[in-house]
């Protein structure tokens, strides 16, 4: 295994109630790559991301994340240093002020006492404020999270990831419920931050256009299998058309 590979998957296979969700997936991802997962609904994008996040255990096959042993992967605090997740919107606790949602990225480092104290008097506030500045929400730190717009909430989730500082970011449809302008905005910030922090990014996306614009590599899934795996600039219109074509009815 080459040491520059931060993720290696070998013959991953997952079944849900007899239905095959992922069948024998093998791929490796290098440090610093920005990978977009595309494919029709039900192709297995979310399942794959959840498997990489170790939320789902594969039925067969092997998965290495930065040489972590199986035991180390079980330790949530250690895993949080390696992997961070962002999903479509519902990541945040709506009832908390923005700053606590950002500082939640620090929970793996904090003792219970410090995390309780922080709810009354925010700890490491400068860190959180810097993160919020970088996503352009410096003035919103004390607002209730539910009062923010969808795009702003996604940026708060990004600020949380900045505080958490994982080496790999897994994003599951991070812009699915945003309008085009806000979606581009969030993606631009996400990819920029990943670049600045030298992180690795794996994102599932509905939009092929965004995938080509913001990512370096595209993995297309269909029916739980890899349909193609190409550098973003090599993906042709023909590839895409055949990826999304409906199955012919027999």
């Amino acid at each position: 295994m080459a040491s520059s590979n931060i993720i290696e998957a070998k013959n991953l296979k997952i079944q849900f109630q007899g239905k095959i969700a992922l069948s024998s997936l093998s791929f490796s991802i290098k440090k610093g790559e920005k990978v977009a997962l595309i494919g029709p609904s039900g192709a297995g994008k979310t399942t794959l991301l959840n498997t990489l996040a170790t939320i789902i255990k594969p039925d067969e096959g092997e998965l290495w994340i930065d040489q972590l042993s199986f035991k180390e992967m079980q330790n949530r605090k250690m895993l949080a240093k390696k992997l961070g997740m962002i999903r479509q919107q519902f990541d945040l606790v709506d009832q908390l002020p923005v700053i606590h949602n950002v500082l939640a990225g620090k929970l793996s480092d904090w003792s219970l006492f410090k995390s309780l104290l922080s709810l009354i008097y925010p700890q490491e506030k400068i860190l959180a404020m810097n993160a919020l500045e970088r996503v352009g929400l410096g003035d919103k730190w004390s607002e209730k999270t539910s009062n923010l717009s969808g795009g702003e909430q996604q940026r708060v989730a990004l600020a949380r990831l900045l505080v958490q500082k994982p080496e790999i970011i897994l994003a599951d449809e991070p812009v699915a419920s945003l309008d085009p302008a806000r979606a581009e905005d969030v993606l631009a910030i996400l990819t920029k931050l990943v670049h600045e922090e030298k992180q690795t990014l794996i994102t599932s996306l509905h939009s092929v256009e965004y995938a080509k614009k913001y990512f370096t590599r595209i993995i297309a899934l269909r029916d739980g299998m890899i349909y193609f795996d190409l550098p973003a600039h090599e993906v042709s219109a023909k590839d895409l058309a055949s990826l999304y074509v409906l199955k012919e009815k027999v």
């Binding site: 939320i55 949080a80 519902f90 990541d91 939640a104 989730a157």
Partner: protein
């Protein structure tokens, strides 16, 4: 096909079954003149007359203020303790701290069972057991409130925690948060508002329950009501009742203010004020109990008291009794027939409440009163709205037991006065809840009906009923569960059923009888919970 027909008409079938059951329950009463005491009607008239001439003399007012404080402080102390119990047991019963798996669900089931047991027994029964075992002490009242209220609150907390959306929790998990960090950053902030408003509602109930603790000899408003009733001083009775209504209404107002201010984005002065008030009430209540009432926990557990308690429970389990009631066929027969009576009493009570609710719910809804829903505005709409709403407040602010104490002056003992007392208290609650459902209705289809010339009855049949029915039914069944739990209480003052026998057995020191009766009572309560949950699922 047949099954399909059944499932589309499930609600209709269920409605007919419920109406049938109600009519059957009415057969339990011999409908003739013998129901009333001779002179019962003139007593009723005197009581009603006194309603408009309460005794406002200085001594009575001072006495009322003092008793109000006692009632309030027992309620504050009891509900405060209940919150602690509910918090601990609720978290355990929600299962959020257990790993998924057979062991986790086993623990969850055990703690849910504990909560179920605590709330199955009415607070007054707990009080009676405590007084019988430990003697008269404010702690009997406080613990008696804390246990069932802890059970009810804990169950709701557990449900709320279990219903927390998964996404934010998953996201927090992926940041490496520990279980307690998950709780304080995820679960707790999400359920906080819901917990608060439900706790405020239970506090209001706690005031009423604290007032009736008098029945086992503890002070407070209920005690004064009882004394005045015994002396036939109805004008004093109403003074005390008005004080009770006043605190219930105040707390209701407090909680609605708190809810509306809570959702504001900016901090309102009312929130810190409420925290201060809560702290003040807690400190005041416990100081009163310790310093003025001279209650002491240590004394509660003195060797003398422990000896008493040991004896009491030994008697309850029939130790040393030659033929304990639960091994006696005759006692079982009697207990089962009483259980049957009690069941019919509860059904009659919820039936009466429902009928009264349906008669009043439309004019009691704000959107009907202001004409927005029906597009007809009449000046008398506001009058009927106000009258009915005041009626609701009066009805629900007066505890069932107090209603029963008054009604027993008019009716001869039996299950009818019990059912009426229960109905009088519950129709106000049911009316308020259901009127709120009507207020939340989508007005467009109903306005359409109104504008196409439908009358009030037609609007009710075609517009309102179909859309509110499931919610109404949920509330009706839920109140039936509560009524079932309370049947035993109205029985204490002679309104029939298991409660009446319970009281007699207490007076004759037939402790093993009490165990048998309590057993039947708990079975009945659990059966009611089970049936009502099944019926609610059926209409969903």
């Amino acid at each position: 096909m047949r099954l399909e027909l059944f499932s589309t008409h499930k609600k209709t079938y269920l409605t007919f079954i419920l109406i049938g059951v109600f009519l059957w329950s009415l057969l339990a009463v011999n409908w003739d003149k013998d129901l009333f005491h001779s002179g019962g009607l003139s007593t009723l008239f005197q009581i009603l007359e006194a309603l408009f001439q309460p005794d406002l003399s200085k001594e009575i007012i001072l006495l009322a203020i003092q008793s109000t404080w006692i009632t309030l402080s027992y309620a504050v102390a009891g509900v405060g303790l209940a919150i602690v119990i509910a918090f601990i047991l609720g978290i355990l019963a929600s299962g959020i701290f257990f790993e998924a798996g057979p062991l986790g669900s086993l623990f969850k089931t055990i703690f849910r069972g504990v909560l179920g047991f605590l709330r199955a027994i009415h607070e007054l029964v707990w009080a009676w057991l405590f007084v019988a075992s430990f003697g008269l002490s404010p702690f009997a009242a406080i613990f008696a409130l804390a246990l069932p209220f802890g059970g009810i609150l804990g169950r709701i907390f557990a449900d709320m925690l279990a219903d927390v959306p998964e996404e934010p929790i998953q996201a927090l998990k992926s940041t490496g948060a520990s279980r307690w960090q998950l709780f304080f950053y995820g679960y707790f902030p999400i359920v906080k508002t819901g917990m608060l408003s439900y706790t405020m509602y239970r506090f209001e109930c706690g005031i009423r329950s604290s007032a009736i603790m008098s029945f086992v000899g503890l002070g407070g408003l209920g005690y004064q009501i009882q004394l005045s009733l015994d002396d036939l001083h109805y004008d004093e009775v109403w003074t005390f009742i008005f004080f009770l209504i006043a605190i219930v209404v105040l707390i209701d107002w407090w909680s609605s203010q708190l809810r509306s201010k809570w959702t504001h984005s900016t901090k309102h002065w009312f929130l810190p004020f409420s925290s201060l008030l809560t702290a003040g009430l807690l400190v005041g209540a416990w100081c009163y109990i310790y310093i003025v009432d001279r209650a002491s926990i240590i004394e509660l557990f003195s060797t003398k008291n422990l000896e008493f308690a040991k004896k009491f429970f030994a008697n309850m389990f029939g130790l040393g009794d030659e033929s304990p009631a639960f091994f006696n066929g005759e006692s079982w027969k009697a207990a089962i027939s009483l259980t049957y009576d009690t069941l019919r009493m509860s059904i009659m009570a919820i039936g009466f409440s429902t009928v009264l609710m349906f008669l009043t719910v439309l004019p009691a809804a704000r959107n009907v009163a202001n004409g927005k829903l029906t597009l007809t505005r009449r000046w008398y709409n506001w009058v009927s709205f106000a009258v009915i709403r005041v009626g609701y407040i009066l009805s629900r602010a007066i505890p069932e037991l107090v209603w029963a104490m008054m009604i027993i002056f008019i009716f001869k003992p039996g299950i009818l006065p019990g059912a009426i007392a229960l109905a009088l208290h519950n129709f106000g609650i049911l009316g308020k809840l259901c009127a709120e459902v009507v207020e939340d209705l989508d007005a467009r289809p109903i306005r359409h009906l109104a504008s196409s010339g439908a009358g009030k009855g037609q609007i009710l049949m075609y517009g309102v009923l179909p859309s509110v029915f499931p919610q109404f039914l949920t509330y009706i069944l839920y109140r039936w569960e509560v009524i079932m739990r309370t049947t035993i209480i109205v029985g204490f003052v002679g309104a029939g059923g298991l409660g009446q026998q319970f009281k007699l057995s207490m007076s004759f020191f037939h402790y093993s009888d009490i165990t048998l009766l309590l057993f039947c009572y708990i079975l009945l309560v659990w059966a009611a919970d089970f049936i009502s949950e099944w019926a609610r699922k059926t209409v969903k």
